[in-house]
Amino acid sequence: MASNPFQQAVSAGSVTKPPSRGDYSSDTLFRSVAYGSAFLIIILMAYILWEIGGQALPAMQKYGFGFITGIGWNPGKEEFGILPEIWGTLYSSLLALLIGGVFGISIAIFLTQDFIEARLAVVFRTIVELLAAIPSVVYGLWGIYILIPALRPIANFLHEHLGFIPFFGSELSGPGMAPAALVLAIMILPTVAAISVDAFRRIPYKVKEAAFGMGTTRWEAILKVMLPTASSGILAALVLGFGRALGETMALAMLIGNVDQISLSIFSPANTLASLLASNFPEAGTLEVQSLMYAAMALLVITLLVNVAGLAIQQYTVRKFEGKK
């Protein structure tokens, strides 16, 4: 073991041992596996981009930027535009994030800030997380059979009496933005709630004690101390939730109505990129497949931008509220 530099550092008869050859090799092995996996992820991502981009290239050359700003998906006339889908994707995800975010963070506060007994909180948390295990298509069916009929009278009441507000500008006939966004909100709820709970748990108990020690009330402590301290974790939860909402396919294809139009009204049918891809792939011709690949690229780019923006906001809040770096 002359090559082992730690050998000299250990005095004879000591309890401490230098790392053995086995320790070294398992350490090296672990490190290379970890590096390898990390690189594989990057390579996989690059490969997906390369493949999709390669297949989308002919459509990109043909339609250029007009594809992004065009309206209507018309394989018969070879006219493709995805502006309504981009709008629908962002609008439905934002609405879902708004609803799911508020509820998710509220649940996290409820479960971590001593409102209920710890053991009961575990039960609640498990129930919320169970929501994540329900398949998308079941959400879709639930939306069609239960949510839409339940929503219809409320929606039509709102439209009748508050129809001058653009958000209620149309009648809800069946599928539409509102049921889609609500179901989406429920789908992202477990993600947002679980990660927010962890963010609150990570705050040392001392912080809360200190806040109480300074004479804050319970809500002051929660809103002015705990929430800002957990903000970076909560933001991460929201970014993940938003990403999930952007990519959700099946439930939306069943609930949003798949109509290529841009409307502020939450009761109008709309369309999303993922739903467009799912609906049109099976019977698409060559040019349509290329255009669908182009649309997939657009979705990837949107997701990337959202994640980058989320990261930037997160770093900003870490600096501002948590006083790091």
Binding site: G22, P75, S173, G174, P175, P269, S279, E283, A284
Partner: protein
């Protein structure tokens, strides 16, 4: 040493898969036919192929319902032994496949209009009305034109919600081909027959995926109307199916008889497929004439290569023969239209060209 167990697992898995490969080559005499294409006739095809494979231990038929377009693509790329399409193959598509294709109509189906309207149980839709509904021109249930055809029905003052297919589909193709054939307004507003038509973009036109999506949406939306395959409506026990006025001015319910009447009034072209000796069996019943004919019916085709190895060709001919004889008997119960006798004879004759 921690990594050894996983290595063992991998080794065992490798041995197992090697064993599976050798065992599958043991049945070298089995003829395996793969096909892909239309989803519209999938229920009946899968029944045929299942029964056929059960009766013939040496032939196995696998069919993937990917959609007509994908089937034609597979056929052109020669990755399958046969394909199926609701829209046959256009001359262009035939040229891409080197004009080496045999198109055989194997069964036929109807498209029905299903609706959800409280208290109206047998809605009649005249010839000049239902294309207008799907063109977005007639928007209220109590439109005078609908009321005139249904004097006894209490039609509500309610907007019509039209439910169409979100995915591209042979059903949409058959339906829009018919509408475009009988209405110029529809042709102008939506266009010719198309697998994914550009329906008017309004709040009252929503799209749902597949037959089940349309059915579920209509069930939950009062005042809605949409189109599904007759087989689907029949198997799901749907009650509110609109009666449509045919070319002869009669209202006929959808069914095997009215469908057969529609096919009987449609003749095959007399010529051959382009640059080929194969008779052209592409006929469209876009607007069938007979008095008893249901207006929206269409054949669906299987597509074969004229040349392949002898064992496969023999097996394919047997499959076709099975479909034409025993297969036709299950057509009615599954909601398809049995082929008329003269069509069966014609298809049998042409199927002999599969060599």
């Amino acid at each position: 040493m921690k990594f050894l167990p996983s290595l063992k697992v991998a080794a065992i898995a490798a041995c197992l898969s090697a064993a599976m490969v050798t065992s599958s080559t043991a049945f070298a005499d089995e003829v395996k036919l793969t096909g892909s294409g239309a989803s519209f006739p999938f229920p009946i095809y899968s029944k045929w192929f299942k029964d056929f494979s059960a009766a013939h231990s040496d032939i196995r038929v696998d069919y993937q319902s990917k959609g007509s377009g994908a089937g034609i693509q597979d056929f052109t790329n020669k990755t399958v032994d046969f394909a199926a399409s609701d829209a046959a193959m256009s001359d262009e598509e035939l040229a891409k496949a080197g004009n080496k294709a045999i198109l055989l109509p194997m069964t036929a189906g109807e498209v029905v209009l299903v609706y959800n309207l409280d208290g109206v149980s047998d809605l009649k839709l005249p010839r000049d009305v239902y294309p207008e509904i799907f063109a977005g021109k007639i928007t209220k249930w109590n439109d005078p034109k609908i009321a005139a055809a249904n004097p006894d029905a209490k039609l509500p003052d309610q907007a019509i919600t039209v439910v169409t297919r979100a995915d591209s589909s042979g059903t949409s193709f058959v339906f829009t081909s018919h509408l475009a054939a009988i209405s110029d307004d529809f042709k102008k507003a939506v266009g010719e027959g198309n697998k994914s038509p550009s329906w008017p973009a309004t709040d009252k036109f929503v799209k749902a995926p597949k037959n089940d999506g349309i059915a579920a949406t209509i069930k939950q939306t009062p005042g809605s109307i949409g189109y599904v395959e007759y087989g689907f409506a029949k198997l799901s026990g749907w009650k509110s199916i609109a009666q449509l006025e045919n070319k002869a001015g009669k209202y006929v319910p959808a069914g095997a008889e009215s469908g057969a009447a529609a096919l009987a009034s449609t003749d095959f072209p007399t010529g051959k497929l382009p640059s080929s000796e194969v008779p052209d069996l592409r006929a469209w019943a876009t607007d069938p004439a007979g008095e008893a004919a249901y207006p929206i019916a269409s054949y669906t085709w299987m597509i074969f290569y004229p040349e392949q190895d002898a064992a496969k060709a023999k097996a394919l001919r047997e499959v076709v023969e099975y479909g034409l004889t025993t297969g036709q008997k299950s057509a009615d119960e599954l909601g398809y239209i049995p082929l008329p006798e003269k069509v069966v004879a014609k298809v049998r004759e042409v199927s002999q060209m599969i060599k």
